[in-house]
């Protein structure tokens, strides 16, 4: 969180000639980040970010301690002034405070202090107090409430003021809230309390305080208040945190309580409140001060590991300098140990913690950078290389890459034929539109296609990202790296083009002889009758390409042809390898011939590539290409014709026509065995 620190208030705690700019710069380098110097009420006010480990700096006093430790490192004199160290309350001769206190469980409130003042005159605070409260972002209310707020900002100790006469029978039962209990807090909000919130009940069972967060409205100080009970406690930080989270309401007090309180600041804080009440409200201490519970934390010493400090900084720091830095920060150094000051017990517990204290004051800017030359003990996986290659080829084919949110809506899933209950679901989505983690990249690619077709006649997009499916076997969801692509264009036959792209990509990855089958298990977004499943020659499923389901297209209002593809890229890249083979080229020309073949309509013509061709050493016979099928009634019912481009080549002589014809006859006889007829024969 950030806090505001007025310059003049800060200087009550630290004597220095440093300018505000110097303070901001040096503090940022060695301690707390000063985000800005603002001008509020005609004065520089530091806006400072306080990290969760430095709750001791959520006060002017805490910041001042750091300023006083840091500035001298830059040769600027600075001295910390402990303003309230000599403040003490004299309650000798006063009656005991009439307050019947029951603390149901000690851990709820390890320390309980209270002081009663009488003769209170409620009015506005002095202009200085009002001005300072405005500077730190608080609203002045009246002299008593302002005292509690002022001291919270001043020394970090949150406190509360009750109207003593509104505590029925002067009974306080501090306990955990029960389920369903409600309290109206000072801000006149009725709040339903979560179980376990710390509350105080008075003599007739009314809840009068939501401890550590905000006081009850029914016991609040108002303009008629005469007797005020100042209340300074330590509460169980975890409960305060859980309650503020459950209520969704974090107050300045709660933010401090949930980080833990400096036990040694409590009595001075309470005493200062009483003194200020005298000054601001003409009130006098009216009874003995109550102080119950844990007075101080166990002493905590941490070993100063000098060699560790040298190791982490990468240079040698004299032990005297280490000790002097720690002393400046309030540690008491003796026998290579550092006694942790009361305000730092929340964040200093091991030797590594001391390293940070020394290193930051020594100055990170004083440590010159040095490149480590060590070589990793592992080798680079080639997955990333292959992924890059796939992307580069797709770009060369005219596809543009997209990145989409990992999450999508139930609506979009349904639009593409996916059942949302099969998808990975978020427990706490930010918005309903992003409730599911995507099982496929195609829904968002289709959405993008539909959007871009408004401006473009042709759209070619791809995305490479994980897709997610719930728990097929292991502990974690299945999340393979996936490739999705879409090509939308007026041309109705995109299949062969994309097939060519896919084959080229596979070949570039060293994967040859893909097997193409009519789609079986394809995603619902495909038109299943026009989709191919693609396998490696070993039979491993790689992905599918095919037309988009007409129902899906109409839901997206897409009128062009669309071809979709989705691949398990993690499988493709795992099969990839640099398989460059050198085959010497024959210096003798090949004889090339065409052969027209008539086959049944449902014959898969790609099988011609797998025809057993005549094999002889020093002679290559192969089918170079297969033409586009030709259909005509003259071929006969349910027949189609394709032309095969045959090539015959010898490695040791020029192939003669009669040799070639001999091989051609062998091929024709093989084709006839398969039930094909040869045109023109």
């Amino acid at each position: 969180m950030t806090i505001l620190v007025p310059d003049s208030w800060l200087r009550e705690y630290v004597n220095t000639e440093a300018t505000p700019e110097q303070i901001a710069q040096k503090l940022s380098l060695c301690s707390l980040s000063v985000e800005h110097i603002r001008q509020i009420e005609n004065e520089p006010v530091y806006e400072i970010e306080i990290t969760p480990n430095r709750s001791d700096c959520l006060s002017i006093k805490g910041v001042a301690r750091e300023v006083a430790a840091v500035l001298p490192r830059f040769g600027i004199a600075a001295e910390f002034v402990n303003k309230y160290s000599s403040v003490a309350l004299d309650d000798s001769g006063l009656a005991e405070l009439d307050l019947d206190i029951t603390i149901q469980k000690e851990s709820l409130c390890p320390r309980f202090t209270a002081a009663l003042v009488d003769g209170v005159v409620i009015k506005e605070s002095s202009p200085l107090i009002q001005r300072r409260l405005i500077q730190v972002g608080a609203r002045p209310l009246n002299n008593i409430i302002d005292i509690t707020n002022y001291l919270m900002f001043d020394c970090g100790q949150p406190m509360h003021a009750f109207d003593y006469d509104k505590i029925t029978n002067h009974v306080m039962i501090l306990r955990q809230a029960r389920k369903g209990e409600k309290i109206v807090t000072l801000d006149e909000q009725a709040r339903l309390l979560p179980k376990g919130a710390i509350v105080i009940e008075d003599g007739v069972g009314r809840l009068i305080d939501l401890c550590g967060i905000m006081g009850g409205y029914n016991s609040a100080v108002d303009e008629t208040t005469k007797r005020v009970l100042f209340f300074v406690q330590v509460y169980d930080p975890k409960r305060i945190r859980q309650t503020t989270m459950a209520l969704g309401h974090r107050t300045e007090a709660a933010a401090r309580f949930e980080k833990g309180i400096d036990l040694e600041g409590i009595v001075p804080g309470l005493a200062q409140a009483v003194l200020m009440a005298k000054d601001q409200a003409a009130a006098e201490l009216a009874a003995c001060v109550i102080d119950m519970g844990k007075k101080e934390d166990k002493e905590l010493s941490v070993v100063i590991n000098y060699s560790l400090i040298n190791r982490v900084l990468g240079r040698k720091i004299a032990s005297e300098e280490v000790n002097s830095i720690l002393s400046d920060l309030g540690f008491v150094v003796r026998d290579k140990k550092a006694l942790v000051p009361s305000w730092r017990r929340g964040d200093i517990s091991i030797s590594e913690d001391l390293v940070e204290e020394v290193a930051r004051l020594y100055g990170y800017f004083n440590i010159p950078g040095q490149l480590p030359l060590a070589v990793s003990g592992s080798v680079q996986e080639k997955t990333f290389y292959w992924e890059d290659k796939v992307k580069d080829i797709l770009v060369a084919f005219g596809y543009t890459e997209t990145y989409s949110n990992s999450a999508l809506s139930a609506d979009l899933l349904k639009k593409c034929g996916f059942a949302p209950d099969q998808a990975l679901k978020l427990k706490n989505p930010l918005v309903k539109d992003n409730e599911y983690f995507r099982p496929s990249l195609l829904p968002q690619l289709l959405e993008a296609t539909s959007f871009n077709l408004n401006r473009y006649d042709e759209v070619k997009l791809f995305e490479v990202a994980s897709t997610y499916s719930p728990y097929p076997s292991g502990e974690l969801p299945n999340q393979p790296m996936t490739l999705g692509l879409v090509w939308a264009e007026k041309s109705p036959d995109l299949f062969r083009s994309v097939k060519g792209e896919v084959e080229q990509i596979a070949n570039s990855l060293g994967i040859y002889d893909l097997v193409w089958k009519v789609g079986q298990s394809c995603l619902p977004v495909f038109n299943s009758s026009q989709t191919a499943d693609i396998f490696s020659k070993e039979g491993i499923y790689l992905g599918s390409i095919g037309g988009c389901s007409p129902a899906v297209l109409s839901r997206f209002d897409i009128k062009t042809s669309v071809l979709l593809g989705q691949f398990d890229l993690s499988v493709l890249t795992s099969l990839a390898g640099d398989r460059f083979l050198y085959v010497p080229d024959s210096i003798y020309p090949a004889v090339k011939q065409d052969l027209s073949v008539i086959v049944d309509e449902n014959y898969q013509i790609g099988n011609f590539f797998f025809l057993q061709l005549p094999e002889e050493s020093s002679v290559k016979v192969f089918i170079e290409d297969i033409g586009v099928p030709y259909r005509d009634p003259s071929l006969g019912e349910g027949k189609k014709s394709v032309s095969l481009k045959l090539a015959f080549q010898a490695t040791d002589h020029a192939m003669t026509d009669s040799e070639a014809n001999n091989y051609r006859e062998q091929i024709i006889s093989k084709l006839k065995d398969k039930g094909a007829t040869i045109r023109g024969l």
């Binding site: 990170y364 950078g369 490149l371 480590p372 770009v395 990145y403 930010l430 994980s466 502990e475």
Partner: protein, 356 residues
């Protein structure tokens, strides 16, 4: 040539002369063609003269035939020469316009994030960092617990984490009694202990991956990418961290750029730093774009001994540093790129994508 035929007067020479006259006036290949047809075509002058052959004396016919053939050859030669000249003339006269629109090759575009990831990776690769990948959806053991962030700790709220709904029959991901939630990793740091568990040293990894957080505004998307550097070895120091980050800043942002470390607080590093780079606009002088000449890059720190222990590495023998920054944010801070809303990167608008 001697066309000395008493009865036809000077028909042949006249024909040649008339042909030359017309030829000289011709400027286009079309009129040249019509001239050819007029003389050499089926109904052309040559054929018309040929028809006179039977009218000649038998002893004159042979000479006339030869002369006519010579005439025809001459005309053809003249036509051919003229044709060549016309061609040369036309190519030197036609206007060449280099501002004509190009025929665009069908070439797509890589996404800006891919450009960023490749550049970042290549910089770290040069100084020996090996790219790795770890699950994007992981147990909270790896995302938090093993990183010194127990569930009760306030630091965990700040990560604004997405949790996954677990099916009823789900194998436990618990380690030492903690970590039974599955989360969308809010940072790439889940890879730290996972990489340590592989059991090799030194570790010098760069982990670049998708992350997710429950936040969405002009500078935060629910989906974003981080790159995480982790170096674990004997005697790793803050000096090493500075060396690596300085190398990155100079290569990524420019040779004049400097970095500085400021104290910060993360649970999984001790000490922790906020890393700043000098502002590219003002060169470190201070301007409205930066804070006193510096821009915040992201967090870094020395690996917390508890994290090393969680990864099975003895913190007394080994130490390390780690940093994890947003890919999009780091790239947007390059001078010249002013994208008003980081979420534009995740909208597949070709008008945007085709600019990169």
């Amino acid at each position: 040539m001697n066309f000395d035929y008493c009865f036809m007067e000077s028909n042949v020479p006249a024909t040649l002369q008339a042909f030359r006259d017309r030829l000289n006036k011709i400027t286009t290949s079309e009129s040249l063609e019509s001239l050819r047809v007029d003389y050499l075509g089926r109904q052309g002058e040559i054929n018309q003269l040929m028809k006179q052959l039977p009218e000649l004396l038998p002893e004159e016919r042979s000479q006339f035939g030869k002369d006519l053939n010579a005439l025809k050859n001459e005309l053809e030669e003249l036509l051919e020469t003229k044709k060549k000249n016309l061609l040369i003339a036309s190519s030197s006269v036609a206007f060449f316009d280099p501002t004509e629109p190009a025929i665009k090759p069908n070439y797509g575009h890589l996404h800006l994030i891919t450009h960023a990831i490749r550049e970042i990776n290549s910089i770290f690769e040069k100084i020996g960092f090996v790219r790795v990948r770890h699950p994007e959806i992981d147990s909270d053991y790896y995302a938090f617990e093993s990183l010194n962030m127990p569930i009760s700790h306030a630091a965990r709220d700040e990560w604004e984490t997405f949790y996954i709904t677990l099916p009823t029959e789900h194998p436990s991901t618990m380690r030492d009694g903690v970590g039974d939630n599955i989360v969308v990793t809010p940072h790439t740091s889940n890879g730290q202990v996972r990489e340590m568990e592989k059991g090799y040293l030194p570790i010098k990894m760069i982990n670049i991956a998708r992350c997710g957080r429950r936040q969405s505004d002009v500078s935060h998307g629910q989906t974003f990418h981080q790159f995480e550097g982790l170096y674990v070895d004997k005697d790793v120091s803050i000096a090493h961290l500075k060396g690596v980050l300085e190398y990155f800043a100079r290569n990524f942002y420019g040779p004049d750029r400097q970095i500085r470390l400021r104290p910060y607080d993360f649970r999984f590093t001790e000490p922790s730093f906020e890393v700043d780079v000098t502002c590219g606009l003002c060169g470190g002088e201070g301007c409205s774009f930066c804070k006193g000449g510096w821009l915040e890059l992201g967090g870094a720190g020395m690996v917390h001994p508890k994290v090393l222990k969680a990864g099975g590495i003895n913190p007394k023998k080994y130490s390390g540093f780690a940093f994890g920054w947003g890919v999009e944010r780091t790239y947007m801070m390059k001078a010249g790129l002013s994208i008003p809303d980081i979420r534009m990167l995740y909208k597949a608008d070709l008008g945007f994508l085709e600019q990169f």
